[in-house]
């Protein structure tokens, strides 16, 4: 018990250190915000053009809200830790391997911190900006306070889930020593099925039944639907259970892959 408490503290310290690193790159935050605001505005302009004279099943304000929240938390979906990649490529990972830690836990703490702080730093100014935009362009209020609460909880679960996915990619990178192959494939799936390119709510109903069960839908789509009220409050516990289920499964797979890795390691360079 004591041991577990102590190692929990260790992972907490790693989380805080990585979180702090993320706040160091303010230029990157600014660049990210500008880029994501641009994408948000373009997407909304497209949807507005589409909606003119063609009433759609989903209200325009729901679409703009969906787009803004997706753009605000974009960093959560698509950002690999450059330090970690560099470590694997150059072999500096050798140091991490001689720490009395579970490698999986070590990297999970780092990835979680990077995605959490990285997306929070970008999301706060973007959400503020999106609230200030005129109706039909900006971010609408949540369906209710309770909906906001459920959405926040679901967002945290989504964060845990996406970190588990990222750690699986890392495990493969350890093997191939170059992330690009796996990443290109994973990114395609991620962009399509997380609802970043096209809100999942606009997919045909029959597709949605399957797509919303995939892990990708648990990251941002589920929290956003709770926020907008697309998912009723009664469904919240079911949504959270699906998210938790995927998180457990993905952590299991990742931890297994890392264990395999550890058994057959080749460290780059002399």
């Amino acid at each position: 018990m004591m041991n577990r408490m102590r190692s929990f503290r260790t992972y907490g310290a790693i989380f805080r250190m990585r979180r702090r690193m993320e706040t160091q790159y303010r230029g990157a935050v600014l660049g990210g915000v500008v880029c994501q605001v641009f994408f948000g505005l373009v997407l909304i302009a497209v949807y507005r053009a589409l909606y003119t004279g063609n009433p759609q099943p989903m209200a325009l304000s729901a679409i703009t809200t969906y787009v803004w929240l997706q753009q605000a938390f974009f960093r959560m979906l698509l950002a690999s830790d450059p330090d970690l990649m560099e470590k694997i490529r150059t072999g500096a990972i050798a140091y991490d391997l001689c720490r009395p830690l579970s490698l999986y836990g070590y990297y999970y703490a780092r990835i979680l911190a990077q995605k959490w702080m990285g997306s929070l730093l970008r999301a706060l100014p973007m959400i503020l900006l999106a609230i200030l935009l005129p109706p039909g362009w900006g971010l609408a209020a949540p369906a209710s306070w309770a909906a906001l609460g459920c959405a926040s909880a679901a967002l945290l679960m989504g964060l845990c889930c996406v970190s588990a996915m990222e750690n699986i990619t890392m495990a493969f990178t350890m093997r191939t020593l170059d992330p690009r192959g796996v990443q290109a494939m994973m990114n395609l799936l991620m962009m399509t099925f997380s609802g970043n390119i096209l809100p999942l709510t606009l997919f045909p109903d029959r597709w949605q039944r399957v797509i919303t069960l995939l892990p990708y839908a648990q990251l941002l789509d589920a929290p956003i639907r709770l926020y907008t009220g697309e998912y009723a409050l009664e469904e919240a516990s079911r949504i959270l259970a699906i998210q938790a289920g995927w998180t457990v499964i993905l952590i299991g797979i990742g931890a297994y892959l890392w264990r395999l890795n550890q058994r057959r390691l080749i460290i780059q360079g002399g």
């Binding site: 102590r6 503290r9 260790t10 310290a13 790693i14 250190m17 702090r20 690193m21 160091q24 330090d83 150059t90 072999g91 500096a92 050798a94 140091y95 391997l97 001689c98 720490r99 009395p100 830690l101 550890q262 058994r263 057959r264 390691l265 080749i266 460290i267 360079g269 002399g270």
Partner: protein
């Protein structure tokens, strides 16, 4: 049982080569990094581990530090098998990879140390005491609040050492710790290692290409080549074995004939200087000196110190490495 026991260690790496015309698969090539390597190290020893690039030194260090699993062979460090009892084992060792960094690039080094303290569960009091000791010995006091990226290479290496030792390991692996350092930094580092070894009895295994590191620090050396252990013993014995020629430069008060030299030595003249090359095994240095004094009035005479690098190069050549 010795502190470190290594028996018949083998490790192969498989490298895939470029596909030639007509081949379906890329051909595999097996490279033996270690072949039947065995040795023992006692607690408190400071052992030098040398050999040309690619000899298998780093592979040995990686296996001993639990990072790599060997293909066959037994290893026990203080009763533990490194790769099998990894977590318990790594708690008791410190590692410095001279070409890599374990500290965080953008934050003050003190914060990286604080994180390592958490990782190794070092109690606060022990941490304070040890840090006081290390910052003084490594002269890090003024640098603690400086981010790693602003440190010079020498300062960085001192910080790396501090990071590897703050949990007071009983065994320290150093993989080329003086690479790229200037003379002053090298001396500081060597003094520190000696201090750590004597004061705390830390066992140190030092891998390096810098022969001065070895002569300054280690009495025992192990030589590795093509994955095989070629020598294990006193450094002085090793040097004596390959110490086949020595050079004396002498100047005389008067012109001398140069016929009184013992047989088997080579004589060259360079202005006033007589340059004599002889084999110390055939003609002892003392006898050589006596002969030189008989030849005339010696004004000045210098025996060139043994050039360890040249000796080692000769040794590698002779062993066909």
């Amino acid at each position: 049982m010795a502190f470190i026991e290594v028996e018949n260690l083998n490790k192969q790496f498989i490298i895939r080569k470029k596909r030639e015309k007509g081949q379906l698969m890329r051909p595999k090539e097996e490279i033996s990094a270690l072949r039947e390597v065995s040795f023992q190290v006692n607690q408190g020893e400071l052992v030098g581990y040398i050999g040309p690039n690619g000899a298998g030194k780093s592979t040995t260090v990686k296996i001993l530090s639990g990072i790599l699993t060997p293909d066959s062979g037994c290893v026990s460090v203080d009763g533990l098998v490194p790769w099998a009892d990894r977590k318990a084992h790594v708690r008791r060792i410190g590692v410095v990879f001279g070409q890599r960094s374990q500290l965080w690039w953008d934050v003050p080094i003190a914060d990286s140390f604080a994180l390592l303290k958490e990782i190794y569960h070092v109690p606060e009091a022990a941490y304070q005491a040890r840090m006081g000791e290390l910052t003084e010995a490594l002269q890090l006091g003024d640098l603690m609040r400086t981010p790693l990226r602003l440190l010079s290479l020498g300062q960085r290496m001192r910080a790396e050492l501090c990071g590897s030792l703050l949990h007071s390991p009983s065994l320290l692996f150093l993989d080329e710790p003086t690479i790229g350092l200037d003379a002053v930094s090298k001396l500081t580092l060597r003094e520190f290692l000696q201090w750590e070894n004597r004061q705390r009895g830390t066992t140190i295994l030092l891998t390096t290409h810098d022969m001065e590191d070895i002569t300054a620090l280690c009495s025992r050396v192990m030589v590795l080549g093509h994955g095989r252990k070629l020598y294990d013993g006193e450094l002085t014995d090793l040097l004596a074995r390959y110490d086949t020629e020595r050079i004396i430069t002498a100047r005389y008060e008067e012109e001398i004939s140069g016929t009184a030299w013992p047989e088997g030595c080579q004589i060259r003249r360079n202005g006033e200087n007589w340059i004599i090359t002889y084999a110390p095994k055939k003609i002892p240095t003392a006898e050589m000196m006596a002969r030189m004094q008989q030849a005339g009035h010696l004004r000045e005479c210098t025996v060139q110190p043994q050039n360890v690098d040249r000796l080692i190069a000769r040794m590698y050549q002779e062993m066909e490495l």
